[in-house]
Symmetry: none
Subunit: 401 residues, 2 copies
Amino acid sequence: MFDKFLRGQIVEANTKIVMLILDGLGGLPREEGGKTELETACKPNMDALASKSALGMTIPIGPGITTGSGPGHLSIFGYNPLEYQIGRGALEALGVDFELGPDDVAARGNFCVVDENGLLVDRRAGRLPTSDSERLVQILRTIKLDGVEVFVEVVKEHRFVLVLRAPSLGAAVTDSDPLVTGAVPLKVQGLDDASQHTAGLVNAFLEQAEVLLRNETSANMVLLRGFAKFPVMPKYSEVFQLNAAAVAVNGMYRGVARLVGMNVLDVGGTDLRNEFDCLEKHWAEYDFFYLHFKKTDTFGEIGDFDAKVKAIEEFDAQLPRLMALNPDVVIIGGDHSSPAVLKSHSWHPVPLLMYGKNVRADKFTEFGETNCANGNLGQLPAYHVMPIALANAGRVAKYGA
Amino acid sequence: MFDKFLRGQIVEANTKIVMLILDGLGGLPREEGGKTELETACKPNMDALASKSALGMTIPIGPGITTGSGPGHLSIFGYNPLEYQIGRGALEALGVDFELGPDDVAARGNFCVVDENGLLVDRRAGRLPTSDSERLVQILRTIKLDGVEVFVEVVKEHRFVLVLRAPSLGAAVTDSDPLVTGAVPLKVQGLDDASQHTAGLVNAFLEQAEVLLRNETSANMVLLRGFAKFPVMPKYSEVFQLNAAAVAVNGMYRGVARLVGMNVLDVGGTDLRNEFDCLEKHWAEYDFFYLHFKKTDTFGEIGDFDAKVKAIEEFDAQLPRLMALNPDVVIIGGDHSSPAVLKSHSWHPVPLLMYGKNVRADKFTEFGETNCANGNLGQLPAYHVMPIALANAGRVAKYGA
């Protein structure tokens, strides 16, 4: 209900909003009573900004829920992630920058090994090298199915994506992956009429794959799961009247940004400096920028506390380049927490900083979890961040008299 | 929507969660600028635990709402209390510690006075003394109805509870209380087939009551209203995949725990030490324990600040017995506030402590209202506590990629 209401209140303004997402930003102390990664980092620029900002804590999905980056991003982009659920196949396709369309059904694929009786020996084919997968994907691309376009894309190691494109395909299709070794790969089944049509096509694909891969050594069969279509998302231009651009290196983030109608820019390099170069270069063209930084999550997930601290410091060093452009509103936050001590994503709320000349700044002079938990923005669902940013950018009209 | 989503994310784990409920825990200072009951209590064990815990404030029902123990418990048990409302008759039965079962229909009763024409003169019989009601209830207990067990329980002054127990009774039954004097008590009506059967039984009860009470002087008739059954609640085993036990002495709490599928243990005594004995005895058998302590509310309601402080200290003395069992997650909270200065339940949020090795601990070293209002868990609906506890116990799967 609020979404619809907000949409009616949006007005245009000559202001710029920048959302800086440090992936997996939230952390935990290494020892009892200690500081988190963010609290440990020497980050003079973020702390200076914190001094004139409002702090808070975002809850990505709901209490106690650990999220992946896809739903975590949708939420901080302003969409209730429980209303807009993205299936696994669609997420995987996004992850490799595949331009998934409304007629597409996507599935996650594994190359696997079966024995002479067709029983699964290794569901991941020993995580074969990506170079092997690339060759096997070329073979799968020779498969033709009636009345449907077939796309096969390498992901990494044993993982690939299958996309079928045709009007009116259903995606309520069961997995072919039995999830255990010693079993045969399953025939898939469609759970409604439109999906039974899809299932027939998928089973034909699997039969041809079996024949084509039979004499391969590194992997001789495939498994498919997580069939999904793209959710139809209202776009940034519609819901927020924003002409939005995304600055991100990794495919998944580029994909999710495209899903909500952002123009995904060519970064021209994989370094954070390249991302800030890109931001500067396109500064005049857009009124909203999303900039994604991956390293914080990477080091959180491998459990390297010190490297995550250093990544935050690396980010901090670039921040003055943005501030020199005079943005009206700056959001610094994350899509989820990834505490190094847990070596994984976690359910903990995520630190948030919002800068703008009319935010109600709190007294804190350091950006960190405990300050954020006591900040003036309180603890809020991540999808409440955008309305507040828009208001600070003069883009929400007064309601009522 | 979130409930259903959470249910799909629950996984099993070899961890134990303990929820300690100090009834009516939240309080207010006795004098301006003073400390609350909880802040006044000398409670070294709770404070030591607070030092490694995350604090917060639970809102049982909604802003400004003072709740009874029934809905307050449902909420901290993890159920949105506005979705699972307990009818007034059922609440009244719970309130006198009647162990309401799934086959029971309960109604609130009033003793009243009618004139020689059967017209209502006093709907509350002058709020006759409870001792008179006790005698009249003994008379009503002689009423027999075909195929149904009849229970009549004193509440206070003119109020009593009627419970009918038989399979398949409906509770959509209108009131017999016309709510005005000068009218005759109404025949009740059933609004569906199952409730028409109940209505027939109720009208037979009312006819017999009229005859039995005809010559009484303090009250000569009864009025019934608020017919209700226990709501059918999804069970802890279904929603959280928890094998749960309840350690509680009073009937109401035992009833609410049974309602959500907890196994209600035999405490073997009414002292708090007996409850902790019971917890120790059954420790190996369950992965969730709810333990209820009544005295904090009792002394809050009678306005004895010092006795409420002492009750908290009595509880604190038992806490090490739990910690010696090495629980994975411990929740200390309340179902509502009962400030001694108000001599009643109140709408104030309720202090919450959550202990677990991966909670994001705050800096506070004392468990008290003001610290909790600034704790890392923030202020949250009481029914958000369980998802966070489950996450800390490793019982919630990651969502999405």
